[in-house]
Symmetry: C2
Subunit: 190 residues, 2 copies
DNA sequence: GACTGCCTACCAACTGGTAGATAGTCTGCA
DNA sequence: TGCAGACTATCTACCAGTTGGTAGGCAGTC
C-alpha cells in the first residue's frame, strides 16, 4: 500500500475518532483496526500520538482556512456568509461528528502543549474571519454593530460551539441552525 | 476516616478532575493520590467508575437545581436573573474549571449510557429554567421575544456553553460575561 | 461479633511505544 | 539484462506503565 493512501486513511479515521470520542479516548489500536494494519505500523507514519494529533489539526485548519477564504470572497451578502458559515457546524453534526476543534477544546487543558496551541490558533482564525465579515457588513450597513467587532465575533463563535455541544448532548443536530439564525437576524441593521 | 468525609472528598476531587481533564482522562489513581487512600479502597465507596460518575452528576444537578430555584424565586428583574445565571458559568472558568456538564457533553457520545442520560437531563433542566425566566420576562414586557421560548433558551444556553469552551481554549475567562451580556441586552423590549 | 474503611496482592486488558526482521519496489551500475 | 543495495511499508515480538477492577485480610469501633 502506498504511503500516501495509508497516511491519509489514518488521518481520516483519526479525525473521525477524535470527533466522535475525543482525543483522549481514541487509540492506535482503534486506528489499526479501521485501516487494517498493525498498531506498531502506524508509528512508521506517525511516530507519536502527539504528532498524529498535530498533523490532524494542521490539515483540518488548512481545509477550513481554504473554505473560509472561499466563502469570504463570494459575491453574496454578509448575512448569507454568516449563515453559510453556521451551516458548516450544522453539517458536522448531521454527519454524526462534533466539529474537530470543539471536540478538542473541551479537553484543552490536558492536550499536549503543541495541540493546545493549535486549538487556540483555530479559534483565533475563526474570530478573525468573523470580524472581517462583520466589518464588511457594518460598512455595507447590513449590520448594526457596536465596537469592538471582536465582541460580536466571540458571541457568534461561542453560540456555534455551544450549539454543537448542546446538539451533541441532546442528539439533535437541528438545534444549531435556528440558534445561529436568530443571532444573525439580531445583527440586522433594520 | 469517616465514610462521609472520604466519600465527599472523593466526589470533590472527582469533580475537579472531570472539570479540568475530562471524564475519560481522570483515573482512580489520580483520586487515590489526591485523597490519600489506595486506589483499590475507592471501590469500597464507588464500586465502578460509572457509578462514581453518576453520583457526581446527580449531586451537581441537585446543587445546580437548588441554585436555579433560588435565583428564579428572587425578587429581581428577569434581566438580572439571566445575567446572574451567566455569572455561574463565568465563576466556573475563573476557578480554572469547565462547568461539569459542558466538560461531559463534549464527550457525550462515548460516556456510559447512564451518564449520557444525566447530561441530557442537565441540559433539559437548564432549558426549562431559561424558558421559565423568558416567559416571566415576556409577561412583564422586559423582553421582546418570538415564540417558542425554547428557541431563545437554546440560544442562551448554547452561547454560555460555547463561551465556556472558547474561554477555556483561549485561557481567557473574561470571554464569557460580555458574550452573554450582549445577548441578554438583545432581548430587551426597549 | 458485626460492621466499616482501609490495606496488600493480584488480575486481564490496554496504552503508546521500541527494535529488528521481512518482502516488495526502485535505481544505478557492470 | 541482471544484480545488489537502498528505500518503503509492513510485520512479529516485546516493553513498561497504566487502567478499572476482584478478593481476602486487618484494625478500629460499636
Amino acid at each position: 500500500m502506498k504511503a500516501l493512501d495509508t497516511k491519509s486513511a489514518l488521518l481520516a479515521e483519526a479525525e473521525n475518532l477524535v470527533r466522535t470520542k475525543g482525543y483522549a479516548s481514541f487509540s492506535y489500536a482503534d486506528l489499526a483496526e479501521r485501516v487494517g494494519i498493525r498498531k506498531a505500523s502506524i508509528h512508521h507514519h506517525f511516530p507519536t500520538k502527539e504528532e498524529l494529533g498535530a498533523v490532524l489539526i494542521d490539515t483540518y485548519l488548512e481545509r477550513f482556512t481554504a473554505q473560509l477564504k472561499e466563502l469570504g470572497a463570494e459575491d453574496i451578502d454578509t448575512r448569507s456568509k454568516l449563515l453559510t458559515y453556521g451551516d458548516f457546524f450544522a453539517a458536522s453534526l448531521e454527519d454524526g461528528q462534533m466539529p474537530l476543534c470543539g471536540a478538542l477544546a473541551a479537553d484543552a487543558a490536558y492536550l499536549p502543549a503543541s495541540l493546545q496551541e493549535r486549538v487556540r490558533i483555530f479559534f483565533e482564525l475563526h474570530l478573525e474571519w468573523l470580524e472581517a465579515v462583520l466589518r464588511e457588513g457594518a460598512a455595507k450597513h447590513d449590520f448594526k454593530l457596536s465596537r469592538p467587532y471582536r465582541k460580536t465575533a466571540l458571541m457568534l463563535l461561542s453560540a456555534l460551539q455551544g450549539a454543537s455541544i448542546v446538539a451533541w448532548a441532546l442528539k439533535d443536530p437541528s438545534v444549531i441552525k435556528p440558534v445561529f439564525r436568530q443571532l444573525v437576524e439580531g445583527l440586522a441593521a433594520k
